[in-house]
Each structure stands twice: as C-alpha cells, then as structure tokens.
C-alpha cells in the first residue's frame, strides 16, 4: 500500500500545536509534582502516609487545572492568528474567521494586528499604518520644505533614474512615466559622461557645472543654472543634484551676446554683398582691367576680407567671454589649414608690399585643431606682422614639430616691441601707447588668438626686440597624443571628431576666400 504524505495545511497547525502545548503542560506538571514529592520523602521531611498522598494529588489536580486554563488563555492570540491566516490562505475550514471588529479585540489591542493581516492579504502594502503615518508626516515635511527651497533638487537611484525631483527642478515626464532632467550640458562635459566616469573610478565624487541652460536660446522660460552633483556609490540616493537658478546673473550677459549676434548679422550682410560682388566682378571683368585697376580691385578684396575677419574676432571674443567659444577639434594638418587661407594671406601681404614667405614642411604630424579657428589665429598674426613691419619687409610663416606639439611661428622684421608692452599684449583691448597713435586696430586680435590656442590645449608666445621685429609662436597638440581622449569625448558629440575626409562639410574654413 502506497504511503501518501499529505501536504501540511495552515489549518492543521493550530490543533496540533494546541495538543502538544497541553500535553507538555500536563507532563511537566506531573513530573514537577513527582520530583518535589520524592525529594521531600527522600529527605525525610515527610512520610508517605495516606494524608501525604491526598495532599500531593490535590496539589497536582489544582495546579493542573490552573495551568491548563492559563495555557489555553495564553494560546488565544495564536489561535486567532492561525485562524485568520487559515482563512486568508483559502483552505477549506469550518472555523469562523476572527473579526477585527470584535469588541474584545478592540479592548486588548489585537485589532490592528488582525487588520494588518487582512490588509496584507488584500495586497494593500501600505498597511503598516502606525509607522507609515509617522514616515508620511516626515516625508510630507521634507517634500514641502524641498518644494519651497530656492534650488532645484533631484535624486537619482542606483539605476540612475530620477527617483525624486522637487518643484524647482527642471524636469519633464516622458510618456512612459519616467522623469527626465532638462539640462543642456556642453557636449564634452555632460552629466552622463561624469556619472559613467564615477561608476568606473569613484566611490564618492562631486562635480560642478556652470551656465547650464534647461532650454535652447529663444524658448520660453529658459533658465540658466549652476549645477552641483554628488555621487555616492551604491547609496539609495546614488546621485544628488542641486541646481541653482542663476538666470538673473547670466541672462543679461546672454542678452548682450544676442545683441552682438544681431549686430554681426547686420554687418555680415553688407560684407557678404561686397565680397560676393567683388568676386563676381573680378570674374566678369577679368581681362578688361588694366594692371593698376587690378591692384585697386585687390585692395577692395583685401579690405573686405579683413572686415570679415574683424567681425569674426568680435564674435569670437564675445563667445569666449561667455565661455561659449567652442572648438570642434578634428585631425588636420597645418599645411591644410593654411591652404584654406593662403590666397587671402598672399593678397593681403602683396597688396601692402610685404613679402610673405611660408615654409610648412608637408611631413609634419597632424594636429587636433578646429581648422576655422586656427585659420583665424594665423590670419590675425599675419595681419599684425604686416601692420607692424615696414614697406617691402618680409613676413615668415614656419612650422615645426616639438615634443607632443606642432609649433607655428609668424615672424616679422618690423618695429618690434619693448618688454613692458609684451606683458600686456594678450589682454583684451590692450593697445600700446605707440600703436594707438600710429596704427589702426581694436586690440582684440591677440586676445582671441590666445583664447583659441589655449582652448586647443596649446600655448601662444612672443619674442620681440624693439627695432628688430617680433616672432609669435603658437603650439597645437599633435593629434596622435590626444586622439584617444578626443574619441572618448566624441561619444556624446559625434561632430566633435571629424576626419578631414568625412562626407560632411561643416565649416567654412576650407572655402574661405
């Protein structure tokens, strides 16, 4: 005959446990009585007379009765709990489930326990009423406080999803219900990139970003924040982000750039027309012009080109001041960058009777450069060299490799500078007393050159001797030395790295005339 083992049922527990509890109670009582009785007899304190036996049995009966009553009483809560659990387990049972509304439960405080069991069974996981209430009060206080706080506040969990955002936080909720931060980070310095770096290398870290906007320029309710993020690996609140609204400080500066942007737009219109029509006329008149008329045309072209450069300088300087000067670094060669401005430079030099000699070795290593900006630097330096050299003087452009850098120098044999001028040379609007009197200019060219070169991770230096001329030399990192870093950064900005042969023409540098 096969032995079938019944699965244990919830309802079976109570009768079995009750039985065992009573058996143990009775057994222990009898054992205790026998032990005490025998000890007394053995010690000779009492003699086993009939009176002795009567007394022993009387004590045994009384204590048994009292203890069974006591045990039964003590087991009542267990009985109620098991019958409640039997009831919610869905097992067939004849026992009436204990009602949480029974007065006795209300009196002895069993009611909340029963309610908790029934609520848990109903899937109401917030059933932990008493502590929940306390936590809820705290949470409400915190939420209210955070919502009233002057800063935006966001918490991210280990999965780096937003788990909390207060009212001031610039966030939006996706159709899928996820909360997403509205912050437009610079392409090469994003929160995501920082978090990735933290995950790999940090246990605790902090980072600050300045001037992070939540919307692009022109959209309503655009705000500009300083953002501070702290990272604590594995914490419930792994990332805590505070956003300080600095719109009032940054917006006026942005507005002034808006003004400059519009002003540049206005200036560029006529420049476009002048340069364009000179181009068209030069083509169409071509052979009809006499030699001196060709020279007049060239002067027009050179002046129009320089006008264009000045507008670019002003725009670059204003971008730099707002920290919006962006370099899109790509692998390029100095020879290639120079070739894009070569015609213009030759024309500028020759129209002012300077001899421009360019020696850029074709086998120099490639550099990481924003070709348009580096073109602007070289053009500014040549402009200066032409301006501060003498009629018929020579201007040399040379390039060489030096360690991890390629160095480009523009040298003239012109009027040179005394030492006290050199130290101020790269300051904005700086113009030496002498040059103010003798030469036209804005004092912005070298300032922007320095900004551009330093944004590349290079340096710009000057050597000069009064009466003998000046040499400006700037360095750019060799592409191979920074390629890995640049490629890592390009994950967030595919335009950051462009190889020259790429199929997309982003920049005007190659086509500058």
């Amino acid at each position: 005959m096969a032995i079938t083992s019944q699965p244990a049922m919830v309802r079976d527990y109570w009768p079995r446990y009750r039985r065992r509890a009573l058996v143990i109670t009775i057994f222990m009582q009898i054992a205790a009585t026998i032990a005490i009785g025998s000890t007394l007899v053995a010690a000779g304190v009492l003699v086993p007379t009939p009176a002795f036996w009567v007394t022993i049995f009387a004590i045994l009966a009384t204590t048994l009765g009292v203890n069974i009553l006591l045990a039964t009483q003590l087991l009542i809560p267990l009985k109620n709990l098991t019958s409640a659990l039997t009831h919610i387990s869905g097992e067939p049972t004849v026992i009436t489930p204990p009602s949480p509304n029974a007065q006795s439960f209300e009196r002895d405080g069993f009611k909340p326990l029963l309610q908790l069991i029934y609520q848990l069974a109903a899937g109401d996981i917030t059933a932990t009423q008493a502590p929940a209430a306390a936590i809820a009060t705290h949470a409400t206080n915190f939420t209210t406080a955070l919502d009233n706080a002057a800063i935006g506040f966001v918490i991210m969990n280990v999965q780096q999803q937003v788990s909390y955002a207060n009212k001031k936080a610039p966030v939006h909720i996706t159709p899928q219900g996820a909360t997403v931060l509205d912050l437009l980070f610079e392409a090469d310095d994003t929160l995501t990139a920082w978090l990735k770096d933290c995950e790999e290398h940090a246990v605790h870290a902090e980072h600050t970003w300045q001037r992070v906007a939540n919307k692009i320029v022109g959209e309503d309710d655009r705000k500009i924040y300083d953002v501070v993020a702290s990272y604590q690996k594995g914490s419930e609140a792994e990332v805590v982000i505070s956003m300080f609204d600095r719109t009032a400080t940054y917006q006026p500066e942005d507005d002034s750039l808006d003004f400059l942007a519009f002003a540049a737009h206005e200036l560029r219109g006529p420049i476009t027309v002048i340069r364009g029509y000179l181009d068209v006329l030069g083509d169409e008149l071509g052979s009809q012009l006499s030699a001196d008329q060709v020279q007049l045309m060239q002067r027009l072209v050179v002046s129009a080109n320089r006008l264009g450069s000045y507008v670019n300088n002003i725009l670059n300087a204003s971008r730099y001041d707002r920290r919006h000067l962006k370099m899109h670094l790509a692998e390029d060669s100095i020879a290639n960058i120079y070739s894009s401005i070569s015609d213009d430079m030759q024309l500028r030099a020759s129209s002012q009777n300077r001899l421009l000699a360019v020696h850029i070795p074709p086998d120099l290593p490639t550099v990481a450069a924003d070709s348009a900006s580096v073109g602007e630097v070289i053009s500014n330096l040549i402009d200066n060299a032409v301006k501060y050299s003498n009629e018929g003087g020579a201007v040399d452009v040379t390039a060489r490799a030096d360690g991890d850098f390629v160095k480009v120098a523009v040298t003239d044999r012109g009027i040179g500078m005394p030492g006290n001028v050199i130290s101020n040379l790269f300051h904005k609007f700086y113009r030496s007393h002498r040059s103010r009197e003798t030469f036209a200019g804005t004092g912005i060219g070298l300032y922007i050159c320095k900004a551009i070169i330093e944004s590349h991770g290079g340096k710009i230096e000057v050597r000069s001797r009064e009466g003998e001329g000046s040499a400006f030399e700037f360095s750019l990192p060799i592409y191979a030395t920074v390629a890995a870093k640049l490629q890592a950064a390009s994950g967030s900005n595919e335009e950051l790295i462009r190889r020259q042969e790429g199929g997309w023409i982003k920049n005007h540098a190659m086509f500058r005339g």
Partner: protein, 126 residues
C-alpha cells in the same frame, strides 16, 4: 550625385541676385524665392537637387522649413541636398540641431560665389 536644379531661398535681394547670377553662369538651373513660406511650398512641389537655405527669412524661418522637410525622423526630400547659408549667429545648440539635418552649414560672409560653387562641386562628388 550630379547637381543641376537649385532652389535658392534668400530674402536679401542683393545676395539672392549674386548667387543666382553666378550659379546660372555656371550652368545651374536656379529658382529663387524670397520668403520662407514660398520656399517650403517650392521645396515640396519639386524635387530639387540642392536647396540653398537662409535662416532669417520672412513668413517662415529656415529652421522651420528644415524641420518641416526633415523633422521628426521623416525626410520629405531624400534626394535633395541642403546647404544652410546664413550670417545669423545661432547659438551652439540650435546650430548643432540644424547641422545634423543638412549637408553643409556655411557663413555667407565667408563664402563668395566662387567658393560656393566649389562647395557645390564637392557635395556633388560625395
């Protein structure tokens, strides 16, 4: 892809005439419209090989035209190349958005008609 037909959307008469004159001389078939609305209609009605698109335009901005033609993941003019030609100094983010949707992004003040022809030649060979 050979480029023959060009739509020039440019509101500045001097600049428009300048491009049209040199492009026609170079043998292109050029249509020129001065406002954004007409530009969008023209771009939708005929498959041009190339569109020269200004940003600051009356009626409809170049950015709006671009997003109407190539926004939301669709591309109404897959065979057409677009060159944005502008003097307007856009902020970095808006410029990046436009650059993703076009084949070239050029500053007009830097581009003489001769240089524009060189860019078009280069685009045609890509």
């Amino acid at each position: 892809m050979a480029i023959k037909t060009i739509l020039c959307i440019e509101d500045d008469r001097f600049i428009g005439e300048m491009y049209v004159r040199s492009l026609k001389k170079a043998g292109y078939d050029v249509q020129w419209v001065v406002d954004g609305e007409d530009g969008l209609v023209a771009a939708r009605n005929k498959p041009y090989d190339l569109i020269l698109l200004d940003i600051m335009l009356p009626e409809r901005k170049g950015t709006e035209i671009l997003s109407a033609l190539r926004g939301d993941g669709k591309d109404l003019i897959p065979t057409t190349k677009i060159i944005v030609l502008t003097n307007f100094e856009q902020d970095e983010e808006s410029r990046a958005v436009m650059q993703r949707g076009v084949d070239a992004y050029l500053i007009k003040a830097e581009i003489t008609p001769k240089k524009l022809l060189a860019v078009i030649d280069k685009l045609a060979t890509l």
